[in-house]
Symmetry: none
Subunit: 412 residues, 2 copies
């Protein structure tokens, strides 16, 4: 038996999205409707009812973990997701190239994303390697997409109990990282963060990439701000829990990172970008190929959430229709439906009017030979509320695995 | 007011059971359908969604306890269920009479069930009493059905953090019990287990019962293998939690044991066997008689699960029809429905194709004067998915007690 879990980020919506319908309800989704007809639907609270999920915590919960027990912060997933090695005891951060200007009383933030820089980031990252930190702290930095990157600190006692150097808004001075707990590890980490941020400005301010940006009228990427300190969570890998091995197919680093932390193998689909311009047919074909060797595949699609954050209802509807036609359509034609169970859901709601995550439950469908079908033959928020699966919290992946008889027994 | 909880073990099924229907859906159950019509139905996850229940953990959860907090292992329930006294600090085991043969490098397991021995077990058990264990460890052994029995160790510091002497499969040497934790109690318990197992062979190998078995060409029951170490869980009794007292009517030892651990009184129904040949009319009449004195009765029926493990779909369907006609039919005619609430459910799903427990939610019905009725007038998995009670996890008994206004207030 094989299993596929598909999570469309920020899939859920509100009636205000499109004149009384959510984007999903308004979208033309004949393939998802057909899977709903063949299977069963319900409503899932990604974490629990009335909890507004982050993308990282929601994914941990949907994959079968208790985020209240295991979540340590986002940075470590970003580091893992862009291919950095992370060891127990390391502290990881999310990082931004940003634009600051000197003022009499310190560095002031001008553009938190350095004009969404899209060239030269690797050169800037390489230049950062000349920074030496005090007190034996070592680091690794890697640029990812646009202004984004990740920073790993290691060497000696470090702590994630620290604030940030990223002030999160332009027009104010950059923040000073401080220890949250009263111990040497937190103080040492905060000092290293402040030193790294300050020295990143010294290294980057006159870098040729930035001289060229200034000459072209673009904001220079002259500092690295860091946030989201995290260390490696103690996750028992999925392989150990269930005795099966799978892969993640995701264009966005965070989701690859969560899946890697859970023990999945990363498989990159050509043309997968983690954005709305992603190649969904390629992701489907990559998943089908991976299933020849592996037990299961987790496919993550990000564009739904991006369009929600953009408050772009027609764009979100259109991206859902692309998921239906290109991702689901390709899978439907190629999967062996006698030997496969599939689950499709979202990790939270991102309604158009709010443009950020909300806590409503999300529709979910399961389809395959062992699923007890229901009478619902369409896929959407309110259709799922009439589904035979009812409503529950988290654990979408273990529930999928149950249909394949992959769960260990608790008790005897 | 009176209350009856009925759990049909392994009640749930899958569409593959019987040509698109579960055994329960395929069965002719006019009485359960009538109770569904008069009451309300829903789906219950015995432990929680995506958790594959054991019978012991599922029952603890349905009776209102958190098995993640209180479950210590199965052995203690088996000991209690066959009438042994268990004190705090004792360690209990499930035990098998088995057949071993001597080899140059130790005892090799030939038949884990000693040919499912069905006569002479009490004589063999009596012979074991002559075993003396070192280091002040005392024990009691009792045979139950066929090859099964239970062992209680007591006296001094003991621990359930031990492995087993039962290798769980024929053709290999018997296992050596080892301490899992690094402490004297665990080491002392493991040593006593190995000594008991070795000495059981010395006592049983030439026992007259076995000489007769060998002469008759049957495998001798020449050793006792032990597994499932458990101590008494810390359960606040139901009487203390809710101020009511009830009884368990169950033919199988495990379920009596769980109920006894929760504070119920054991009442044996004549002809109740814990198997498919049980007398279901007798169980109904025993329950009705018990309710003259007591507040509630928990009736456990095992045959559904047995037929599921046997992968016998017609047999499971037929046993469900017997439950409907003989157990439910008898109760319906004799209960005072103005003064009684009744709940009927299963402790897990045992689909025919898999022949073991799976994690799907199980249908449940509540009926009685305080139940808010719904529109569903049949009892089955998919009908329950349309029910007015929705879907939730565990606590079937406290929910039943609530209709009788027996619950204490949490907070004020």
């Amino acid at each position: 038996m094989k299993a596929i879990l598909i999570i469309a980020d920020g899939l859920g919506g509100r009636p205000s999205d499109m004149d009384g319908k959510t984007c999903l309800e308004a979208a033309h989704t004949p393939n998802l409707d057909e899977l709903a007809r063949r299977g069963a639907v319900g409503l899932i609270d990604p974490i629990k009812p009335g909890v507004r999920p982050g993308s990282d915590t929601a994914h941990l919960s949907l994959l079968g973990y208790d985020p209240y027990q295991v979540y340590t912060g986002r940075g470590v997933f970003e580091c893992l997701g862009i291919g950095m090695n992370v060891e127990p005891g390391d502290v990881c951060f999310r990082a931004n190239f940003a634009t600051v200007e000197e003022t009499p009383d310190g560095l002031k933030l001008v553009d938190r994303r350095a004009g969404r820089i899209d060239a030269g980031q690797d050169d800037l990252a390489a230049a950062l390697a000349e920074i030496a930190l005090s007190d034996g702290v070592k680091f690794a930095f890697k640029a990812s997409t646009q202004h984004r990157g990740a920073l790993r600190m290691y060497g000696g006692e470090l702590s994630r109990a620290v604030t940030e150097t990223d002030p999160h808004k332009a027009g104010v001075h950059i923040s000073t990282a401080r220890a949250i707990t009263n111990d040497d590890a937190a103080r040492r980490t905060a000092a290293a963060m402040n030193e790294f941020t300050r020295k990143s400005y010294e290294v980057l301010k006159d870098h040729p990439v930035n001289k060229a940006r200034i000459a072209a009228g673009k904001p220079p990427a002259n500092i690295v701000l860091i946030r989201g300190a995290a260390d490696l969570p103690h996750l028992t890998p999925i392989d150990r829990l269930y005795g099966v091995h799978g892969a993640v197919v995701a264009g966005a680093a965070l989701y690859r990172g969560v899946a890697l932390a859970c023990g999945m193998t990363r498989i990159d689909a050509p043309g997968a970008t983690g954005a709305v311009d992603t190649d969904l047919v390629s992701k489907a074909n990559t998943a089908i190929q991976a299933l020849e060797q592996l037990d299961y595949v987790f496919i993550h699609v990000k564009g739904t959430d991006n369009r929600g954050h953009d408050k772009d209802a027609p764009g979100k509807k259109k991206f859902i229709e692309r998921i239906d036609a290109e991702l689901i359509g390709t899978l439907m034609g190629k999967l062996d439906w006698n030997q496969t169970h599939l689950a499709f859901t979202g990790d939270h709601t991102t309604p158009i009017d709010y443009g950020d995550h909300t806590a409503e439950p999300v529709p979910i469908l399961y389809v395959g030979p062992n699923v007890r079908t229901d009478a619902v033959a369409e896929f959407g928020e309110r259709a799922a509320g009439r589904g035979g699966l009812g409503r529950w919290s988290g654990r979408a992946l273990p529930i999928l695995f149950n249909y394949n008889n992959w769960l260990p027994k608790f008790g005897s």
